[in-house]
């Protein structure tokens, strides 16, 4: 028996677990199932629900297994390993007693409770509850609390497990939830019932083991057992969080996170979680053609005929801009088609972006990986605000800061990131001076430093120089060594890396986004591009392919409706370069088609038939020849430190030209970053509330 292992006997079975394990973990290791309410793997231990009681032979009373460290347990008198029992009359009686107390004040309103069917208390009451109540007094009544537009509270149901309080304080980093008063009067509330200011507040709904905190937008919409559940990928940010889309009929009813250790652990940002009402609003469900200044519904045949007409312009007068949510299949099919037409003016990046064109993949993905930040000991964020651009990753940075003493420095506009960080400046000049700063010392002393550049820093005039300088700095401080690739770009759009991977950048002599939209083109094709500035587009004919009627569609002359991310099986590449598949949860709206299919059909009309007839054939084409390792040949895999060699090479001819301009924030409004979000009522409510809040900006 090694020093850091501890032997014990659980239900007659001998096991050996690390000494730091809790008794609950040890019991689970032995295959026993322990009921619990307050314990949660990713939160600190509270030990207040008492549901996880087990019997420890020789102990005077039952033990709360979540709060007992096995290393602290005494052996039996004869020196043998302690005996623990998770079953039997003793344990049953203890748990039955706890359950009876929990139910004393819990209302019997399961038939009208949204948690019904997926409620921990309901499930465990089936196992440990009594058939009837022995409690003759009145149940206590608690006022419902206001917690903002996302979280509905029915506080009578609360069992004071404090998971939500611990989540807000530890993971979200906003200490706004707490338990006030005591004893029978204890209540969970925000301070004076203010709305939660976290982008992760929706997670308390999942954490709540009862129906006290439920989803306000989803209230009374559906029962869990009548929902069709589809595992998929989120596209609200470039993390590609694992989600479960719950649908009823043709409507998405809610979106929940799934566990994905490498990406989102088990959290989800409010935007990803509550976007779903936007999927049913402002939808483009049939093709439209603008006639006499007004859009009229048309058939696909008519629409394709007008598109063919519009694409008869000279190839150098045609520009194609891909938007933030574009899936790889559509990008590939569109690129193949337009290249075959001789169009070189293609771009998937925001206006002014200066990255992704040199063909080195490592220079536009997050090589350090999202999970890698937990191994880092110093992190420099350049022109990025992860709280806005990748809220769940921000929680992970906070976790590393809180538990692993990660030092964070940041260049960009001052912002509250929920953790202390060194604010080094607002623009590229701070990057030039960093070697002389205190944080530069921290970086060069760090064993595993990490540098993350955001789009805000790469879209200015000096974007390429910032990237080159940051890469130089990374090499200098030892962020790029064998086995550790601590340099990367944090993207803000789900489709960006995938589109870059298929080469959706300007071809030879091709124009980039800013030039395409500057009025030089006769025909502009927008692939769901709504975040770009269309004001300078001039008299160009605009073809919009997308799912929502937003900025692009309102300017469009021809609209081709495509499916949204919940309506198709599609490939997305996240900011780490991880290739993932979203799945179809519901049918596309009306006559909308998947993006790649639109371009496959259009290619036929244009007489340049694309060589794939099915999505599978297209993906086979993407993967390239059998047996050859390409970007798309593996699913769910982040290259991470494999790109070290490519990062070691300095960028040629780009390191000079840093300006004094400040980095602009990528988003002004966390809740309004894409067409689906802008169509969502819930997001509009959140956005209005957030802008009304006078959030003090703390720069430490």
């Amino acid at each position: 028996m090694s020093d850091d292992l501890f032997k014990l006997n659980v239900d007659g079975q001998d096991i050996e677990v690390p000494r730091h394990y809790t008794l609950m973990q040890a019991c689970e290791e032995a295959g026993a199932e322990i009921p619990r309410f307050c314990y949660h793997e990713r939160l600190s231990v509270a030990g207040n629900c008492r549901m996880c009681l087990v019997e420890w032979e020789g102990a005077p009373k039952p033990i709360a297994s979540c709060a007992q460290t096995v290393g602290d347990m005494r052996p039996n008198r004869d020196g043998s390993a302690p005996n623990v029992r998770t079953k039997g009359a003793y344990v049953e009686k203890a748990r039955n007693g706890v359950m009876e107390f929990l139910l004393i004040n819990h209302p019997l309103d399961c038939p009208i409770c949204d948690q019904g069917g997926e409620c921990d208390l309901q499930d465990q009451a089936m196992a440990y509850g009594r058939a009837g109540s022995r409690f003759d007094e009145n149940k206590r009544a608690v006022e419902d609390k206001y917690m903002g537009p996302l979280v509905k509270t029915i506080m009578n149901r609360c069992i004071q497990c404090t998971r939500c309080v611990r989540f807000a304080a530890e993971v979200a980093g906003v200490e706004e939830l707490g338990m006030i008063s005591r004893g029978e009067n204890a209540e969970i509330t925000t301070y004076l019932e203010k709305s939660l200011t976290s982008e992760l507040s929706g997670n308390v709904i999942d954490l709540c083991p009862v129906g006290a905190l439920t989803s306000k937008p989803y209230a009374f919409n559906a029962r869990p057992w009548e929902l069709r559940k589809t595992s998929s990928i989120d596209v609200m940010d470039a993390m590609g969080a694992a989600i479960r889309v719950d649908a009823k009929g043709d409507g998405v009813m809610r979106i929940l996170p799934e566990v994905s250790e490498g990406i989102n652990e088990e959290w989800l940002s409010d935007k990803s979680r509550f976007i779903w009402d936007g999927l049913a609003r402002q939808r483009l469900d049939k093709p439209y053609i603008r006639e006499n200044g007004k859009l009229r519904p048309a058939t696909w045949g008519e629409a394709f005929a007008s598109v063919k007409d519009a694409l008869s312009a000279p190839a150098e007068k045609i520009g194609v801009v891909a938007g933030d949510l574009i899936e790889v299949e559509q990008a590939k099919a569109a690129l193949d088609l337009f290249r075959s037409l001789g169009v070189q003016n293609t771009d998937c990046r925001p206006a002014g972006a200066q990255y992704g064109t040199d063909g080195v993949r490592e220079r536009y993905i997050l090589n350090g990986t999202l999970a890698g930040v937990e191994d880092a000991d110093a992190l420099l964020l350049i022109g990025t605000n992860p709280r806005m651009e990748a809220a769940v990753w921000n929680a992970r940075i906070r976790k590393a800061w809180l538990w692993a003493d990660l030092k964070v420095g940041r260049i960009g506009e001052a912002a509250d990131l929920t953790y202390d960080h060194a604010w080094l400046g607002e623009g590229a000049s701070a990057l030039a001076d960093i070697r002389n700063s205190d944080f530069g010392k921290i970086l060069s002393d760090a064993k595993r430093p990490m540098i993350v550049v955001g789009e805000g820093a790469l879209c200015g005039e000096d974007g390429a120089a910032v990237l080159a300088n940051a890469l130089d700095l990374a090499n200098e401080i030892g962020a790029v060594t064998d086995g550790w690739a601590g340099f990367g770009v944090l993207h803000s759009a789900a489709g960006r890396v995938g589109a870059l991977d298929v080469g959706f950048v300007p071809g030879e002599q091709g124009a980039a986004t800013a030039d395409i939209l500057s009025g030089q083109m006769e025909t502009v094709v927008l692939l769901g591009a709504d975040e770009v500035d269309l004001s300078g587009i001039g008299a160009a004919k605009v073809i919009y392919v997308g799912s929502h009627g937003d900025a692009g569609a309102s300017r469009a002359d021809i609209i081709l409706p495509s499916a949204a991310y919940t309506e198709m099986s599609a490939t997305y590449v996240n900011t780490e370069g991880r290739v993932q598949m979203a799945s179809r949860a519901v049918q596309p709206k009306g006559e909308a088609r998947e993006g790649w299919a639109i371009f496959r059909a259009l290619s036929d009309v244009m007489g340049k038939k694309l060589p794939y007839d099915t999505a599978d054939a297209l993906r086979a084409d993407l993967r390239g020849p059998e047996g050859e390792a390409t970007v798309f040949s593996g699913l769910g895999f982040a290259p991470g430190a494999m790109g070290v060699e490519a990062l070691k090479a300095p960028m040629t001819g780009a390191s000079t030209g840093l300006t004094t301009a400040t980095f602009r924030p990528v988003f002004d409004d966390f809740y309004m970053t894409n067409p689906i979000a802008r169509a969502s009522k819930t997001m509009a409510e959140c956005s209005a509330l957030a802008s009304a809040l006078d959030t003090p900006v703390a720069a430490e």
Partner: protein, 275 residues
């Protein structure tokens, strides 16, 4: 115990500690290291309550939170947990009436009736702003039950009559003397000492020793010649909080013998009653 919520209206928008409190704040904060300043939250709230006419308003709570750099909700949790932090205004004289078993057996219920008729409901402040009352749990003076605490002073061995006399004095601004309201010193027997009065008990004649070896008259013991010296280094807390109360008002003692001795004993024990 009813729901405890801030009286937002009465609390107003601002609160400031009194200048003379700053020294006490520095004392309490000085007890904790720089990164554990939030440990001082309870004494700070207590000081804030004292500086706010005996109750804790929402701005006062925020002031404490800001000073200790704590999130408001964390201080709010503390303020609502401890019932000695009063979240509603109280009278100039706030009466805490002990209703726990010993006092109850000795007639606290009747005192409650007195409060109800003389003042009103619990936590109700009389129109002149002078009186309010609440029932509390044991105040640790069971030997003098029934008793009440008025602001910082104990009034003990009460009867409905003596209690309502005290209330009337407080109401009319007449000085009321704290302590037992019957003929006894502290918790000594009523009417004076009745047993162990024989001087023989104390001079050694009873046990036929012909004197006690350690009587003051006996040979003085030699000065101890200890090898070690008492620790003369400065105490960790150089600044002791000195109670502001003058020691002159010990008029509570019904004039008896050995009053000087009692006085010294009293003042020594009263250093802690700030809490």
């Amino acid at each position: 115990m009813a729901l405890r919520r801030f009286d937002m209206e009465a609390g107003g928008d601002t609160f400031a500690f009194k200048p003379e409190t700053e020294e006490k704040i520095a004392f309490w904060r000085g007890k904790y290291p720089a990164d554990k300043q939030r440990s001082a939250v309870i004494p700070m709230l207590w000081l804030a309550q004292k500086d706010n006419q005996g109750w804790l308003s929402e701005p006062a709570m925020r002031e404490v939170a800001d000073r200790l750099e704590m999130p408001y909700i964390r201080v709010y949790e503390v303020a609502t947990f401890y019932t000695m932090f009063r979240l509603q205004p109280v009278g100039k004289y706030h009466i805490q009436l002990c209703g726990t078993t010993p006092c109850q057996l000795r007639g606290a219920e009747k005192l409650k009736d007195v409060c109800q008729t003389e003042i009103g409901k619990q936590m109700f402040v009389t129109d002149d702003g002078r009186l309010s009352w609440e029932e509390v749990e044991c105040l640790g003076a069971c030997v003098n039950a029934p008793m009440v605490q008025v602001n910082d002073d104990y009034f003990e061995d009460l009867t409905p009559d003596s209690f309502s006399t005290i209330l009337n004095k407080l109401k009319n601004g007449v000085e009321a003397h704290p302590g037992p309201q019957v003929d006894r010193i502290n918790s000594a027997p009523e009417g004076g000492t009745a047993i162990l009065t024989d001087p023989e008990l104390f001079d050694g004649t009873r046990n036929k020793l012909g004197g006690l070896p350690n009587l003051p008259s006996a040979e003085p013991e030699p000065e101890p010649t200890a090898a070690g010296k008492p620790d003369e280094s400065a105490p960790t807390n150089t600044q002791r909080e000195v109670p502001q109360k003058e020691n002159t008002g010990k008029t509570t003692l019904i004039s008896k013998t050995e009053s000087a001795e009692k006085d010294s004993g009293q003042s020594a024990s009263s250093t802690d009653d700030e809490d």
